[in-house]
């Protein structure tokens, strides 16, 4: 059974339709990538799944529950999801440890000692063992992004949404963050990632979705999308990316 089902989702900003009837299924342990030009609606789709945006039509089901129903408690839904933003969005007034334990303690009611123990475990696992007491502005971009990923993992979400987690980083730091995502896949995490890293996308995804002007133009296994895409638009996009040297 699929963990997440998106059916005919529309999202408008004013009279501009940013998502135009998106359909997508994500099974447990599956890694789904969203690719597409800037402005094609990747971030908006992830924000809709997280209920940071309300959809204007269609429905999203998580674990069989319709989360786009206005009667559901958004905080309950978000407890089961993790999202990592392009700009990290760590809380600057808290140490790394406090950033990571905030949600477990204040939302999930985990005791402080237990939350900190799990946080330290996760930080160690992602090479941040010595940084628990640091403040975000004392870390490199790559370290901050890894903390953001650990923060999203700390509540044991069923699904993680990664929104261009490497696009604010320089190449050397990209490598370390991508390694974290690889490890998550090996651990069986279900993920949806919006990305511009085509090589990585091809390597890690089970399914690749090409978004074009708010339409899910094409989706399929990476070999198919990257070698024999059906649509002219997909070919154009991939060629443009190839020319810019990102494949």
């Amino acid at each position: 059974m699929s963990l997440l089902t998106i059916e005919g989702v529309w999202k408008n900003f004013g009279d501009h339709s940013v998502l135009r009837g998106i359909d997508l299924e994500v099974r447990s342990h599956e890694v789904v990538s969203l690719i597409g030009a800037s402005g094609s609606g990747k971030s908006t789709l992830l924000r809709c799944v997280n209920l940071l945006e309300t959809v204007d039509d269609g429905a999203i089901h998580l674990d069989g529950q319709e989360i786009t129903d206005p009667r559901v408690n958004v905080d309950d839904v978000r407890k089961r999801l993790g999202i990592v933003f392009q700009a990290f969005n760590l809380f600057p007034h808290m140490t790394v440890l406090d950033n990571v334990t905030l949600a477990p303690r204040r939302v999930h009611g985990v005791a402080r000692a237990e939350a900190e123990e799990r946080a330290r475990e996760l930080l160690d696992r992602f090479g941040l063992g010595g940084k628990a007491g640091s403040y975000p502005d004392q870390l490199s971009g790559g370290q901050q992004q890894r903390v953001a990923i650990v923060r999203a993992l700390a509540t044991r979400p069923k699904l993680i949404l990664l929104d261009e987690v490497t696009s604010a980083l320089d190449p050397l730091l990209v490598v370390e963050v991508l390694q974290v995502v690889r490890e998550l896949k090996e651990a069986g995490m279900t993920m949806i990632l919006a990305t511009h890293e085509m090589g990585f996308c091809r390597e890690i995804s089970d399914t690749v979705c090409f978004l074009d002007g708010g339409v899910m133009l094409e989706k399929g296994p990476p070999e198919k999308i990257f070698t024999e895409p059906e649509h002219e638009r997909t070919r154009d996009f991939l060629r443009a990316v190839l020319d810019s040297g990102r494949l």
């Binding site: 997280n50 940071l52 958004v74 905080d75 309950d76 978000r78 407890k79 999801l81 993790g82 999202i83 933003f85 700009a87 969005n89 760590l90 809380f91 600057p92 007034h93 905030l102 949600a103 204040r106 939302v107 999930h108 160690d124 696992r125 992602f126 090479g127 063992g129 502005d137 490199s140 790559g142 923060r151 999203a152 509540t155 050397l172 730091l173 370390e176 390694q179 974290v180 490890e183």
Partner: protein
């Protein structure tokens, strides 16, 4: 993961030995710093001397000195004015936390978007609009003379309490606006990050937005509190025997105004530590950022 070299790891290399050029540079910097200090000292002394010469040579100076700077009257006025000043301090210490509470609550009320809270939001807006517009002195008059006149059960009639209520109402509106500006200065992505972790609006405010906002508004808040320390003198109009009122009594009955100087000095003594504390906090924030 841990075995991989991390960016920012220390590379191998020679330890630093300060070069002769760097020694020379530092000598030049030191001698320049000494020269700036001497120039600053000299110009300050010159300035003070000029002002003193100008004032003491004014034709009315002997009379002013007698009326405002009489050592004898200074000593005689000090006990009464100082004991009145204790009341100012007491009013300040009680009003300050109350103002903070009112300020935070009103600012928070204005951020709640839920429709059920519309009346609360409207009331908070109305409150800040009204009490920022009405002069503090007028608020104190209205509360001090108006409230007891209602003769309602449970309404305090103690003048100090009424004065504190008046100050709280007036300053609460300013402080609410300061907090609101602080809350609005926190980038929406911080709220999105907190909400996406499952924190409710309230918890997002409490753990993420307010702590950051408070840090940002500490300097303007302290400024408001310095001004509150002075404005405790406004309750004199209700007839409370605080420092200004005591000084007034002495001045009008004895025709010597040195008591005003005493009161001024006491207020300055109270506000200076607060001003230095504000500077200290600002400096600490700067160091943290660096």
């Amino acid at each position: 993961m841990t075995g991989r070299p991390q960016p920012g790891d220390e590379g191998e290399g020679q330890p630093w030995v300060k070069s002769e050029r760097q020694h020379e540079r530092e000598r030049t910097r030191r001698s320049r710093a000494r020269r700036s200090t001497s120039i600053a000292t000299a110009s300050s002394i010159l300035f003070v001397v000029l002002v003193v010469v100008l004032v003491t040579n004014a034709p009315g100076w002997p009379r002013v000195r007698e009326a405002f700077f009489s050592p004898e009257w200074f000593v005689r006025a000090l006990p009464d004015v100082a004991s009145g000043f204790l009341l100012n301090i007491k009013i300040f210490l009680i009003a300050e936390p109350l103002i903070l509470i009112v300020g935070v609550l009103v600012a928070l009320a204005r951020t709640v978007k839920a429709p059920a809270f519309f009346p609360v939001r409207a009331l908070a807006t109305l409150y800040t609009d009204i009490f920022r517009g009405v002069p503090t002195l007028l608020v104190i008059y209205l509360v001090g003379f108006g409230l007891p006149a209602l003769r309602l059960q449970g309404i305090p009639t103690d003048l100090a309490t009424l004065g504190i209520i008046g100050l709280t109402l007036s300053y609460g509106a300013y402080v609410a606006e300061v907090f609101r500006a602080g809350i609005e200065s926190i980038h929406p992505s911080q709220v999105a990050a907190a909400r996406s972790l499952g924190l409710s609006h309230g918890k997002t405010m409490r753990f993420v937005v307010l702590p950051q906002a408070t840090r940002r508004v500490v300097p303007p808040l302290l400024n408001d509190f310095i001004s509150l320390q002075k404005d405790t003198a406004l309750v004199a109009t209700l007839g409370l025997l605080e420092a200004l009122r005591q000084a007034q009594i002495i001045a009008t009955s004895k025709f010597n105004y040195t008591s005003y100087l005493v009161a001024s000095l006491l207020f300055i003594l109270l506000t200076i530590p607060m001003a230095r504390f504000t500077d200290h906090l600002a400096a600490r924030t700067r160091r943290r950022r660096a």
